[in-house]
Symmetry: C2
Amino acid sequence: MSDGKSGLQLRSLLKKSGELELSLVDVPTPEPANDEVVVHVEATPINPSDLGLLIGPADMSTAKVSGTRDAPVITAKMPEAALRMMAARLDQSLPVGNEGAGVVVRTGSSDAAKALMGKTVSMIGGAMYTQYRTIKVRDVMELPAGATPADGASWFVNPLTALGMTETMRRENHKALVHTAAASNLGQMLNKICIKDGIGLVNIVRSKEQADILHKIGAKHVVDSTAASFMEDLTGALVETGATIAFDAIGGGKLASQILTAMEIAANKTAKEYSRYGSSVFKQVYIYGSLDNRPTELTRAFGLTWSVSGWLLTPFLMKAGPEVNARMRKRVVDELTTTFASHYTATISLADALRPEIVAAYQRKTTGEKYLIDPSL
Amino acid sequence: MSDGKSGLQLRSLLKKSGELELSLVDVPTPEPANDEVVVHVEATPINPSDLGLLIGPADMSTAKVSGTRDAPVITAKMPEAALRMMAARLDQSLPVGNEGAGVVVRTGSSDAAKALMGKTVSMIGGAMYTQYRTIKVRDVMELPAGATPADGASWFVNPLTALGMTETMRRENHKALVHTAAASNLGQMLNKICIKDGIGLVNIVRSKEQADILHKIGAKHVVDSTAASFMEDLTGALVETGATIAFDAIGGGKLASQILTAMEIAANKTAKEYSRYGSSVFKQVYIYGSLDNRPTELTRAFGLTWSVSGWLLTPFLMKAGPEVNARMRKRVVDELTTTFASHYTATISLADALRPEIVAAYQRKTTGEKYLIDPSL
């Protein structure tokens, strides 16, 4: 560990020319203000939600490597159509990384800041792919005794997203839910929450191996979208659970449409009389990811009482209000090493995060594969 | 006119075998209860919203005609996939027709019913493709002096749908709106409402002829989706009006996605800083029709703050509540022959409505073409 006066930071720069450049930059550590602390970052995950800013829709098949082994530079081309949408970020060198954890090594003068000296904390707020992060006390959370930075690195995005799903389900008057790409880290957390809280959850996976992962942790309804009997299996699970809201990480293709169609068939199975416009049961699919980049295809063979919408954690948290936020955060801390435990494929350094073979690996977003950066390595 | 003790009624029957049968049936006129009247129906439109129950997704290329000239019978095949969704209507002979108008020829014993004797009234409630309709007083509305049944036949579906759109826009905090298939009867009403109320309206049409129709009635923003400059034209109109909600009658293809993309580009033009998840401006497309039966294709190149949903008049009216309903209905009556005037291609008899060439014509849903049935012919 250096003296912490400066440190390496991962940057993403999209040039007007359409070239995306990823690099490590040595930046001075800002002095902490009264209500701030400096955290020596030791663990920060690469979430799908980080990839948008880090790489976005850049064509990584055009990637070129330069720089040195300790300070690699990757460049790749951004497609013309995508560039148009990104006018606001052109020619700015942007730090990356939503969440992380580490040890407080310096503090501001307030009592709240000083109380954190030497403590292991988790953080939210961007620019986490960095060796030293100066941050406001209100954006860090002290971890319980014995928890390591790796335990607390993923305390925010996945846990709050999973809790946000069941919270949204209740707020919008649904009684059970559907989740796709359900064997992911997030999907496993969601299963643990639903089992604990007695909520009906229909898990949609894309292979027998993924189904096995979920059965092993006690999931009751697991349906495989690659099976010939998928629509029947899904409809059966929807009738049994009464799920009328789905959270979809896939995005592209026909899956959202299939879910709405199965919900409509399930609703009509219990309907008493024919309605020419389809059932009056409201059916909602929230798309929160884009594992499949193709267009979403909706057949609309499911009446007129439906909605397909984008879902994003931050606007949800703002809508939910401080009381719900506090309740959800407390639960994450209380169940950090049980319900909300994350598993990582490998722990890598900042420089590793820019090696082409590793970039290719995390860009694939393979279910169950997740990388943790330790900037102190 | 017969004595009104019985009359012809158009029926749609979907058999378990997958055969759809349209026919005329002679039915006895129910005696009016205290709070009911019998209306001699003289005008009832064929709206796109009637076609769902009348024909639905039946394959009219398989249509066969039998019966007599005065009582034709049409049969056609319903595709297997569609049959599954329609279990609840199988083997039931269903009357059709959402709205209509006529003259009260017999009444129940209540004062409210007796006061309507001989009056021209408009009606809502289904089964309007019939010669005599027994109906509750609360479901009829006396037309202003001088208004004919043809003037009042379309007082409900199109006028309230158009008003429902501006009402929805306000309720959901948008300041201007987009409408597709905008040269339709409904689209022209919406233009008149928006001009009168000072609401920004972006009209999307599919030909120069349709654009001309709208310019002639004073529309300010008309963009042609078949023009090479469509996306630029649309974005420009969105920037100018600030429209972030659209009502789409087309449904299939890429149009809904193009609207959301243009809204996102318009929002980013005024955004101050780059947001990795797209703009935070909420963008809504309501699909209320299906002029294009193909799947809706969403590219999702418009961030995560969006929604595509079904929209239907009846649930909207229920949500809006009695006060809003009363206000909207009063406006329709007040402006029946101005803002809400309908234009018809032809007035036809009940038997005409079952002639294959006429069925083919109204099933095409050509913009500006609309048929009015006069069951007394």
